[in-house]
Point group: C2
Chain length 198, copies 2
């Protein structure tokens, strides 16, 4: 980061954002301070303010970038069996939360009381769950009000499952978590559809 | 509430707490103020402080009482088919959240950033999920690390399902929500057990 190569303003902004996202992985949002940036990369308060307005502007830019990374990481492959694609997507989710545990936890908690964080969090969650319907060309998930509600609640299930496991894995293996993540959605939909038909 | 009957200090404290819990149902915790109490029942700031120490002490007492009500309301019947008992318990949960929607939502959100609220919230959730294992004499839920983790994540599912539905029921009926709440747990455990055995 201490490179002497002259960067364009856009490149410099990107560089600061990349560093912010790396810090986000291992720290809570409250710790994503100008001081932390200064310590890691000798970046001055003035420079950060120049590019991001203020501390909250920087925090928001980092969180938006992190959320975009999450959405990209969890993109399912374009082809394959629906369950394989779901497993791939949820393994990506598990990977991302493991790497970004501290930051993600602080985003989840912060979203409860901070309107900006809540917006980013809701957008990311909505993108993740909405994609399940748009990428489902198999009819695995009928697009009904019941299934929409179910998928929303399942996203909370997946988040709690991964955050609890990362915090305290105990005797549960990574493979078991990945399989629970992918297997849970079809099981829930199957149960709800069964009830609907009776 | 404006009764002139002389109450013992313990009765008076109970009465204030009951009123607080009723206010909690329809207001967020931030609105559970001394002013609201004064407006509803002509109770003075001094009286409230006398019984509960300060505003936060009163809030904590109200939230603990509300959590105890939730745990009592969702107690499953001692006998019956396991799924019937679970349905009974989850219908109680749905009833309680509907009545106490505003307060419960503010407890869930407040628990993210307030240590005292988090403690009450975690205790209540733990009591609810722990009871599923202790009241299960049927082997419906094997007490394994995987199933413990699953039940913890399922509690987040149930919470999101009910809060989302109460906020915006759309075309989903109350019966569908109750059946999803009760049917989801066996479906999830069945899927996880199936995976474990393969």
């Amino acid at each position: 980061m201490a490179s002497r190569i002259r960067l364009s303003p856009a490149e410099r902004r990107e560089q600061l954002l990349d560093l912010g996202v790396r810090l986000f992985a291992r720290r809570s949002l409250d710790e994503l301070s100008v001081d932390a940036m200064a310590q890691e990369a000798g970046i001055s308060r003035g420079l950060l303010y120049h590019y991001f307005g203020d501390k909250l502007g920087f925090r928001e830019a980092v969180v938006r970038r992190a959320a975009a990374d999450l959405i990209a990481t969890t993109a399912p492959p374009a082809t394959g069996e629906p369950l394989e694609r779901l497993l791939h997507s949820m393994t990506g989710y598990l990977d991302w939360v493991e790497v970004n545990h501290e930051g993600y936890l602080s985003l989840v908690r912060g979203a409860a009381s901070d309107a900006t964080l809540r917006e980013v969090y809701d957008e990311a969650r909505h993108a993740l769950t909405d994609r399940i319907f748009t990428s489902d060309d198999t009819g695995l998930l009928p697009d009904t009000p019941v299934v929409r509600l179910l998928v929303k609640a399942w996203a909370a299930f997946a988040e709690e499952l991964v955050l609890s496991w990362v915090a305290s894995p105990g005797e549960v293996t990574r493979e078991q978590v990945a399989e629970m993540l992918a297997g849970s959605l079809p099981a829930l939909v199957g149960a709800a559809e069964g009830e609907r038909l009776t």
